[in-house]
Amino acid sequence: MKLYKKEGNIIQILSFPSETTEKGDYLLIEDTDAQKALIVQVIDTQFASIPGILEELLRSLPDGGQPIQGEDLDPLEIAPHITYIQDASLLICKIRATIENNSLNPSTSWLPSRSQSTVRKLSIPALTKLAKTDGKLPIQLGATKDASLLTIDASSLDGRLNIITGKKETGKSHLSKLLMLNLITYKATVVVFDLNGEYQSLGYTSDGKRNAYHDKIHVLTPSQNFKAALKQLNLHVLLEILTHALHLPGTSAREFRRIWRSLKERDMLNLHELGEAIRNWHCNQHVRDALFSRYHALVNSGFFTDSISEATLLEESLLKAKQQGGAIIINLRNTSPIDRQIVVEYLLAKLVGLLTSDRLKAIFLFAEEAHLYLRETYWDDIVTRMRHFGIFTTFVTNQPDTIRENIYRQADNIFLFNFTNEHDLEVVSRAARVDAETVKSIARDLPPHHCLTLGKVVRDFPMVIKVKALDVKTMGETRLFFKDVN
């Protein structure tokens, strides 16, 4: 390999057929005289612009598109040299760092010697050793292309905003499960908004036996084992639900506040009394109708109860998880969109309450397809305000445009699976911790279960990994009509 050109932070390297280098590989450009080296990453491979190549191709097809049959008698065996030159490729590389005095430096302000520099492949283990990506709490993400294991530090997810994205069936949920299970191994508290019910069986191995995580997985299904007692509910939480999930107008919300206070003063906060109070409240008929319709929505959700004993499991599970680590799986599979929003509003408010009162340390929140249950105003809340309370979110989505641009800008880690759609790649490339060229070039060619890892977990050295397999019962498989036929 030979250093050819540098433009901005892009380096072009001439590579010959005997040197197998692919997108995502790291190269080390060493300049011994300068006692420095550049770490660059291949983000694209192109044919080298060899003079005369067009003529070469044209003359091989001069007979109406059919190659002329013939024989080359090449006694000096120059043909392999011709092929060698013709197949030379140009590696488009992005400068990632400089090594100087055995330490990494993000500076790219120097230029290595074109004639004297040597270019060689930098193995991922050597790079991770330099970058110190593994720490005291290692999480094995998977294998890199050169079959070495990529290990990240769980603490690099702590206090961070993460995004897992890619088109469907590429392995996003699998990675999310892997991260989640590793976090609970280190006694972290994890809450998962499980939209498709695919996290429920994480406590079982693929053959249905209990695994090491079994006692740490707490599945809460709204309206079944997960309910909210009206008496324990704060007025502002219920008002949030009424205004944001059930779109109660402001005037009606004011009347509801009065009704609620009146019932609370009389210690009569239960579903029946709430209904009666709305019915008998002296107010405009339209307001009453509005309140009644929301009241029935709350009652019909089945999520609210008068019995305090029915509404203790969430807190119990969270406190248990605080002690020994665990995951609270909120199973939203059979929940209607409105009920989903009610549950999420309630849960987030509850979590903030527990965190502000220091009853919980911090939690890792995994939100699958959050746009289906998270109201608009919550996005900023989650990544800014709630982060300070100790809610560290990982968004998992196959529709990257459903996550707002400012979320991408603040994302600390992005786990990017394959995308072929230009628009999707464009959206993801807005993330602050990555350059658009890397995202667009590498993500497009990622095979299934391969992920481009970007951000703090890899110390800003984008790495492609094949996500490690998990011996857990998977529930996220698509139910197929022709399954038996195939």
């Binding site: 060899i50 003359r59 049959q69 013939g70 080359d72 006694p75 000096l76 120059i78």
Partner: protein, 352 residues
């Protein structure tokens, strides 16, 4: 040191019967190529330039063109061309590469055999020996009127290969048309009359007709190049040129025609074996029209021969790579003094 011997079996690949073929020349080419490269630590050249030793003021064009009708009698059309290129300079000489191609059309299919590239390191010291050895291998003579200059060597060596390829075709094809690039003028340092006559004779013996197309000509009629004259006739036709008197030792072994074979503006000087009857000559061109694709008055077979042997830039780089890797020869990048002195106004030494 042992010189590797390569066995060349080119003629066995032809689809038509052939006699025992003399392979001395290619063997000598390989031998000498390796020898010149071992014994020492761009521009394409156009072969077959027309010699100027022809008095063209006496040249006349027959007023009545020979009108042609394509004859579709199945006939093999074969062509020969070679190419040479200077691929670099060393401290003591120049590195040149030559390659030749034979192409033939049979049953509507084009096939080819390409020979080379052969790379030679020619120096002032070895050029005489190199050329003499090759000349002996092909012409069976060491007689040389003048020693070629170093700059003439690429042309001369390529010419020897071309002559050998032409001879091979005349010996291996029967009842065919053989297209040469250039003319049938002999008596020049690289085309002895005796050998040109032998080639034509061999071709006749095998019932072949040689048609030599010149892309460039200096012959003029009434001050105009003969290929620039447009009689009021619809192509295809031939116009015979008569009255041409070459100065000795230049000999014209063919009759000269202006061939306008398609309705384009292009016309070429065409030399056809003198010994053939006018009817045979006309019939040969008509068979060419009926058996080959003619574009811009030029036969496709000859065009392909040229294309196949021409060196492309990446091949030159590959040959430089071969020389440096395999023979450890160091190429010198001499500064172009024109560019150096005159900057953007210097056209370069090769384009003066």
């Amino acid at each position: 040191m042992v010189i590797q011997q390569h066995t060349i079996t080119t003629t066995q690949k032809y689809n038509f019967p052939h006699p025992t073929i003399d392979t001395t020349l290619p063997q000598r080419l390989i031998q000498l190529s390796l020898q010149t490269l071992t014994h020492t630590p761009s521009i394409s050249m156009q072969l077959n330039q027309q010699p100027c030793n022809i008095e063209s003021h006496s040249l006349q064009l027959k007023p009545q063109p020979i009108l042609l009708k394509p004859k579709h009698t199945p006939t093999i059309v074969a062509a020969v061309d070679t190419s040479n290129i200077k691929i670099g300079e060393t401290a003591t000489g120049i590195l040149i590469a030559i390659r030749g191609a034979n192409i033939w059309k049979q049953n509507h299919i084009y096939r080819y055999i390409r020979l080379g590239p052969f790379i030679f390191h020619t120096t002032e010291e070895n050029k005489k020996q190199l050329y003499t050895t090759l000349q002996k291998a092909y012409l069976n003579t060491t007689h040389m009127q003048t020693t070629p200059t170093l700059q003439q060597m690429p042309n001369r060596i390529a010419n020897l290969l071309e002559k050998w390829l032409q001879t091979m075709l005349t010996k291996t094809i029967n009842n065919g048309l053989i297209l040469f690039d250039g003319s049938l003028t002999s008596g020049t340092p690289d085309t002895p009359t005796l050998h040109m006559r032998e080639t034509l004779q061999t071709a006749r013996k095998h019932n072949n007709t040689i048609l030599a197309f010149s892309k460039m000509t200096n012959l003029r009629f009434n001050g105009h190049l003969i290929t620039d004259i447009y009689p009021k006739h619809t192509p295809p036709y031939l116009i015979e040129a008569i009255g041409l008197k070459p100065k000795p030792p230049i000999t014209l072994c063919g009759d000269i025609y202006v061939a306008r074979l398609t309705k384009s503006n292009c016309a070429f000087r065409l030399d056809i074996d003198k010994e053939l009857s006018p009817q045979q000559k006309t019939e040969a061109v008509e068979k060419l029209l009926g058996n080959d694709i003619i574009t811009q008055s030029y036969p496709e077979t000859l065009r392909l021969a040229h294309i196949l042997c021409t060196f492309t830039a990446n091949e030159v780089i590959a040959m430089q790579h071969y020389i440096q890797r395999k023979h450890r020869l160091r190429l010198i990048n001499r500064p172009d003094m024109h560019k150096l002195l005159f900057g953007p106004f210097g056209k370069g030494e090769t384009n003066q």
